[in-house]
């Protein structure tokens, strides 16, 4: 399972990633994007289960 977390606030990305890890998702399978463009680029580069 691959997850893409997109938020312009780094703190919120960390909070969301912590919650995902607590739910059992491995930290290595979680990618971050700072804005919409980074998110689109990331999705074009690889597929994600959750965005």
């Amino acid at each position: 399972m691959k997850v893409l977390v997109t938020d312009d606030a780094g703190v919120m990305r960390k909070v969301i990633i912590r919650e995902l890890v607590d739910l059992g998702i491995s930290a290595e399978s979680i990618k971050e994007a700072n804005d919409g463009k980074e998110a689109v680029d990331a999705v074009n580069a690889q597929s994600f289960t959750w965005c």
């Binding site: 606030a9 780094g10 703190v11 919120m12 960390k14 909070v15 912590r18 607590d22």
Partner: protein, 172 residues
């Protein structure tokens, strides 16, 4: 008519204070697992609380404007942000601490904004938060002559404050 306007203004003030207390308690409780208790509200215009780390955010709409300023001492800010991020307090960087307090004021003011919008039927917008760091500083960024109050809270035996200044032109 004037009495009706006064009643509406007092209702807004009470709603604003209740919204601030509710939002602060909920955000710190759910996001940072920190139990917060309301201590008091001070509406004296010359009272300016001090803090080591403050996050200020502006709110504006077609008929109203104001600001919120959340101020902590450094120890309490570190503790709350460490809980928000789920990391050890000693691992908190200055950048994490500033960003974390900025996000907290963003979430609290977002919740208060929804209450104000429900009350007035107007749409309000929030600015990006600005974070101020410095030992024992005060914040005085409110628009001149705007109604002003300071809500004092306690968490982990320490006091922190949320300054609120908000003026709705329709109340004039």
């Amino acid at each position: 008519m004037m009495q009706q306007q006064m009643n509406q203004k007092n209702a807004l003030d009470a709603q604003l204070v209740n919204a601030v207390i509710g939002a602060t308690t909920e955000v710190l409780g759910t996001m940072a697992q920190t139990q917060v208790s309301y201590k008091s509200v001070n509406a004296q215009g010359d009272y300016m609380p001090s803090g080591d780390l403050s996050a200020v955010i502006g709110i504006s709409g077609q008929h109203g404007e104001g600001m919120f300023a959340l101020s902590f001492n450094l120890d309490l800010a570190s503790l709350i942000v460490s809980r928000l991020l789920g990391i050890d307090q000693k691992s908190i960087s200055s950048e994490d601490r500033c960003d974390g307090v900025g996000e907290l004021v963003n979430m609290i003011s977002g919740s208060v904004k929804r209450v104000l919008s429900q009350h007035s039927g107007e749409i309000y917008k929030l600015s990006l938060p600005t974070v101020v760091q410095g030992s024992d500083h005060t914040i005085s960024s409110r628009p001149k002559n705007n109604p002003y109050l300071v809500v004092l809270f306690e968490a982990e035996g320490q006091t922190f404050t949320l300054q609120v200044s908000f003026k709705n032109d329709k109340d004039q």
